[in-house]
């Protein structure tokens, strides 16, 4: 393996290109029209244009990606995450073209891609899935009986369903009759199919996932858990490793389950099994992501393992050489996703041009990002600007460090999620580790609505007056003071930058 085509963009393309460089492997960047000047293109040894901005005509276009690989003489392809990363047909096409796919075999991607079939398979190999019925319930009596064995509360779900329709929470036997009729009615109306089945209702579980690594020689290991409970609309915002709720025993049990899951589909490379973890330590398989995850750095930091390097080595046919005994998490790592979204406007995504930037440095911090001053953030792709990651000896210290580096991070020109993270890092429940997937609804949303501290408002008011006063002083001593026609105040067009530039130029 000499030259790897990175079929992606943004921070993950950079991450993979850096990994290749460290291994002495050349990298090929691909780019759409709007990414011509993107940092990942400059970072790679070779680059190839693959089409216009819409991803369907560029980063998702298998033919063009393969054509780029051929044109540039790449002998392997790394898909990153998103785009074509979990498309079995892409992995298949890469193999057919005689190239190495840095990821799992197409059959494993396909097996885990069919979510219902995957859950059935998990049940067969003894990986716990959310308890429920496979067969539809015929009568209220049957449903009530089954609910008693599952344990209340239960969820009535439309067999044909999705999107919450035909779904009803049943808290006790008395509620069953009414709920059954309602769920059936809704399901019939929405899907033309009134069949409903039962699932145990998991209330406020944590989202905990297990990192898996498998080589081509039958060895599969796990690298512990990541907790990703702070989410908004299924979008992860903050991840950490290890999890506050995972004991050594739970870690071993979940780890073994994840390894079984991976082995059952013949998994190779890095992958992640997502679970719901209950307060009593019960956990249930959700799905397996057959790729590198966005949040992989937190695992890297606490396990001292470079996951991209592992992927490259595995793809080259190397044996996993990590000694199982040494695989315990050390310290605490935490990641905040810095997205181009306005947390003060319900996380509205925004484009724009990045102006000034100041990236945190110093002990225990890592920035996996892709934007630079002058970068135009396109609206065609996801809103992730970068990931701010810290490591420290303990969770408490990791939070303190995260507060520090969030304060140090400055990105001007586009709104970012920074302020949300700053507030979470000071929020008592999060600090105490009391998080679950209901955190956003219960706490997160309200954090942004909180009225500002009057002390800060006053400081900002004084600062603004002083800024205006400063501008006035510059105006008085500036080039147009005295002589010549007086200039109209140019506040509209004149920026602080121009002011400063002018002042500097006249020194």
């Amino acid at each position: 393996m000499k030259r790897v085509l990175v079929a992606n963009r943004g921070e993950i393309a950079l991450r993979i290109i850096r990994g290749c460089r460290e291994e002495g492997i050349e990298s090929v960047a691909v780019y759409s029209d709007v990414d011509r000047l993107a940092p990942h293109v400059r970072a790679a040894d070779v680059s190839a244009h693959i089409g216009p901005a819409p991803s369907s005509e560029s980063y998702l276009n298998i033919e063009r990606l393969l054509d780029a690989a051929k044109r540039t003489g790449a002998d392997a392809v790394h898909p990153g995450y998103g785009f074509v990363a979990e498309r079995a047909d892409f992995a298949q096409a890469v193999a057919r073209a005689g190239l190495t796919f840095i990821g799992p075999p197409p059959s494993a991607i396909a097996a885990m891609g069919d979510k219902t079939a995957a859950r059935k398979r998990m049940r067969e190999v003894g990986v716990p899935v959310v308890p429920g019925t496979v067969e539809p319930m015929r009568t209220v009596e049957q449903a009530t009986r089954t609910a008693h064995t599952l344990g209340f509360p239960v969820l009535l779900k439309a067999a044909a369903g999705g999107g919450g329709r035909g779904m009803r929470v049943v808290r006790n036997a008395e509620e069953m009759e009414g709920a059954f009729a309602l769920a059936q009615g809704e399901a019939t109306k929405a899907f033309g199919d009134g069949r409903v089945y039962l699932e145990r209702l998991l209330e406020w579980p944590r989202h905990v996932e297990i990192q898996v690594l498998a080589d081509r020689h039958g060895r599969t290991i796990h690298l512990g858990e990541r907790e990703c409970s702070v989410q908004r609309r299924h979008q992860k915002l903050i991840e950490e490793a290890p999890s506050h709720a995972v004991t050594a025993v739970i870690r071993r049990q979940m780890g073994e389950a994840a390894v079984r899951a991976a082995q059952s589909v013949g998994y190779v490379s890095a992958g992640t099994c997502e679970f719901l973890l209950m307060p009593n330590g019960d956990f249930f398989f959700l799905e397996m992501n057959t790729r590198l995850q966005v949040e992989h750095p937190v695992t890297e930091l606490v396990y001292g393992v470079d996951l991209v390097r592992m992927q490259l080595k595995i793809a080259m046919g190397h044996h996993l050489s990590l000694p199982e005994r040494a695989l315990v998490p050390r310290g605490w790592a935490m990641e905040c996703r810095i997205t181009c979204e306005d947390p003060f406007a319900d996380f509205m995504p925004a484009g724009g041009t990045v102006g000034y930037m100041r990236l945190p440095a110093g002990p225990g911090v890592r920035w996996d990002g892709w934007v630079e001053p002058g970068t135009e953030v396109p609206l065609h792709y996801d809103s992730l600007l970068g990931k701010l990651i810290v490591w420290a000896e303990s969770r408490e210290r990791a939070i303190k460090r995260m507060r520090r580096v969030l304060d140090d991070l400055v990105i001007v020109g586009v709104p970012t999620s920074r302020e949300f993270h700053q507030r979470v890092m000071a929020e008592p429940a999060f600090v105490a580790g009391e998080i679950d997937i209901g955190y956003w609804d219960r706490v997160g949303r309200g954090l942004m609505a909180r009225p500002p501290d009057p002390e800060v408002v006053e400081a900002a008011a004084v600062a603004t007056a002083l800024l205006e006063e400063e501008k006035r002083a510059i105006g008085r001593t500036g080039p147009h003071a005295g002589g010549g026609p007086a200039q109209a105040p140019s506040g509209d067009a004149m920026t602080g930058w121009l002011d400063t530039a002018r002042r500097e130029g006249l020194r």
Binding site: G355, D453, A460, A461, E468, R472
Partner: protein, 169 residues
């Protein structure tokens, strides 16, 4: 200078002069650190120093400030601008289509267009001095200058027609 600072739904009165800074009449110690090429500044008040990021907003006196997990769209109006606004706002005649009206009493300093000129929306037409401040008056819509009714030195009352415009298209 006295400023009325509109911030977070309230007005904070800040007075800055050689004697220091007063907030709503209360003397405070305060100055800015870090002037240079960076929008990252510090406001020092007493022993407390706070970092903030300031970017100019759209319009005179407008700033966007990020400070301690807060962000503010702030407008700092000095007393003269405030007075002019108050005057222009009170009982101002409704805008007449195709005419530029004086928003306040004042003295015409410059006329920036001639009859027959085509102007874009937002183009400056006349400069009127009031309260020792020059105010650029702009076209609300694109059009052609039909008639200029004032010249430099003309004193005008509030609502006087300065320029007549034929709206285009």
């Amino acid at each position: 200078m006295k400023y009325a600072v509109e911030i977070a739904g309230r007005t904070v009165h800040v007075e800055v002069d050689e004697f220091g800074v007063r907030v709503n009449g209360r003397q405070v110690e305060g100055h800015l650190d870090g002037a240079g090429t960076s929008p990252v500044r510090r406001i020092v008040r007493g022993e407390r120093s706070r970092e903030f990021v300031a970017t100019p907003g759209e319009g005179k006196g407008r700033w966007r400030l990020a400070m301690e997990a807060e962000h503010f769209d702030v407008e700092a109006l000095d007393e003269r601008t405030l007075a002019i606004r108050a005057m222009a706002g009170q009982g101002a005649p409704p805008p007449v289509a195709g005419a530029l009206l004086a928003p306040m009493p004042g003295l015409v300093v410059r006329v920036l267009v001639a009859e027959g000129d085509r102007v874009a929306a937002g183009a400056a037409l006349v400069v009127v001095e009031a309260m020792k401040m020059e105010n650029e008056l702009k076209a609300l819509a694109p059009g052609m200058v039909r008639r200029v009714r004032v010249e430099p030195g003309t004193g005008v009352e509030k609502g006087a027609v300065l320029v007549e415009l034929d709206p285009s298209g």
